[in-house]
């Protein structure tokens, strides 16, 4: 390799590390790096400088609710994973059956055979929220995906922001403060069947709550219930909000 050609590449190493090279150029540089020890050494030498950048930012105190939400979601995941290891037969039908049975004992007297679609409509009525059904365009500016809004203030308002990689983020506002030992739990409905999202979260002091849904593929409805801390295998209360997801 000529010295001129090498200098040509070395000039781009810093930009590459900063993520500022155009994709095609970055790919070319990566190919060059595979065989150029001098450029590899340059990358290694500059790496501490790159790592200094994020750690040099002015410290901000994270909101206390952020820690609570992250750890609640993690503990829900851990609990579900543990349950799955312990009882492989405890599946969706069991969870769904339990939910419908609990609803059936309530004032609406819904029977399981009525089906989930009806159950969703009924629990919305029990919860007392009107489905707005308005579809916005990412008005919170957090992503370019579709946003679905349901509920009307002062009741719970929910937005599901679809992410480009197939997941989504559920944002709730106007959520009442929970009693101790209770958390919010999210559920999704696909092809008429309810599945746990394995996401527990709690509202902050302003009544806002957010959680992530890793896979929105085929989701028809997103629901949130209040559950005992640690989450539940099946919903044990009526949803505080439901969000119909338009099918593309």
């Amino acid at each position: 390799m000529s010295e001129i050609n090498h200098e040509h590449w070395q000039e781009d190493v810093a930009a590459y590390m900063l993520g500022a090279l155009e994709p095609a150029r970055a790919t070319e540089l990566e190919q060059h790096l595979e065989s150029c020890e001098r450029c590899q050494a340059q990358v290694r030498w500059l790496m501490p400088a790159l790592n200094a950048l994020p750690q040099s930012v002015e410290r901000q105190e994270p909101p206390p609710g952020l820690r609570t939400r992250v750890l609640a979601e993690v503990r829900a995941d851990a609990g579900v994973a543990s349950a799955e290891r312990g009882d492989a037969t405890a599946g969706l039908l069991h969870r769904l059956g339990g939910w419908l049975r609990s609803l059936g004992s309530g004032p609406m007297g819904l029977r399981p055979v009525a089906g989930l679609a009806a159950a969703v409509l009924v629990v919305v009525a029990v919860a007392g929220y009107a489905i707005g059904g308005g579809i916005g365009g990412g008005d919170d500016g957090s992503n370019g995906g579709s946003t679905v809004v349901t509920g009307k203030p002062p009741g719970v308002t929910a937005k599901v922001v679809m992410k480009s990689e197939g997941g989504g983020t559920l944002h709730l506002t106007n959520v009442k403060q929970l009693h101790d030992e209770h958390v919010l739990e999210a559920w999704v409905q696909r092809e008429g069947e309810v599945e746990p999202v394995r996401a527990l979260f709690v509202p902050d002091d302003k009544g806002r709550a957010t959680t992530t849904i890793a896979d929105m593929e085929g989701v028809e409805v997103v629901m949130v219930t209040t559950e005992p801390r640690g989450g539940s295998e099946a919903p044990t209360s009526s949803p505080i909000v439901t969000v119909p997801i338009p099918q593309s």
Binding site: Q10, E11, D12, V13, A14, A15, M17, L18, G19, A20, L21, E22, P23, Q40, V43, R44, W45, L46, M47, P48, A49, L50, N51, A52, L53, P54, Q55, S56, V57, E58, R59, Q60, E61, P62, P63, L66, R67, R69, V70, L71, E73, V74, R75, D77, A78, A81, S82, D140, G141, S142, N143, G144, S164, E165, T169, R208, T210, T211, T212, A214
Partner: protein, 193 residues
């Protein structure tokens, strides 16, 4: 089996990662407490508002939890790896707001692939630098070098976009980036001496 919180606190980051991969919430809690503050600070620095910074931080940590122990200690420190994930997600949010197609990948393995292997001695030593010392190293840059690095790293702009924004030739941007990064590296090396 979960480790107790006090035991987890005595473990190094690299020792926590296999436990997190095994879905140990106690280990993850310690991991969050160590890095949550700087992760949120970085997200806030990039996206510029609290609610979005919370979303980015939450998504990044949940990604680490759900993706399992993809961290490879041969490729750098846990903190740098975590902050790379936060930065990628925050930049993606910025670009989505601007109506651009996401440039950065969400594949956290790709973050690892971008990192060089071995020769971590200096980087490990840097972990003992205080945030103030790191700010000093970055803050020592001449304004024009700091500007291009800031636009690239915290703004997610390409060198061509930066050249157009500043009205300078592309080669000038490349040179400022290179000189700026080398100067930061030099400042850090002096601090270690």
């Amino acid at each position: 089996m979960n480790v107790e919180r006090d035991r987890a606190e005595r473990l190094a980051d690299e020792e926590l990662m296999p436990l997190i991969g095994a879905k140990d919430p106690e280990a993850f809690e310690v991991f969050y407490d160590r890095h949550g503050g700087v992760a949120y600070s970085l997200a806030y620095r990039i996206v510029g508002e609290k609610a979005a910074a919370e979303d980015v931080t939450q998504e990044a940590f949940i990604s680490v939890w759900r993706s399992g122990a993809r961290f490879d200690r041969a490729r750098g420190s846990v903190r740098s790896w975590m902050l790379s994930i936060v930065r990628n997600r925050a930049i993606d949010m910025l670009r989505s707001r601007a109506g651009k197609a996401p440039k950065l990948t969400f594949d956290d393995d790709a973050v690892l692939e971008q990192r060089p292997a071995e020769e971590l001695t200096d980087e490990e030593a840097m972990q003992h630098e205080t945030a103030q010392e790191l700010r000093g190293a970055v803050g020592s840059l001449p304004g024009e070098q700091a500007k291009v690095i800031e636009l690239a790293y915290f703004g997610g702009f390409s060198q061509s976009e930066i050249a157009a924004m500043l009205g300078v030739p592309l080669g000038t941007v490349k040179g400022r980036m290179r000189l700026g990064m080398e100067k930061i590296r030099g400042e850090l090396a002096e601090g270690l001496a």
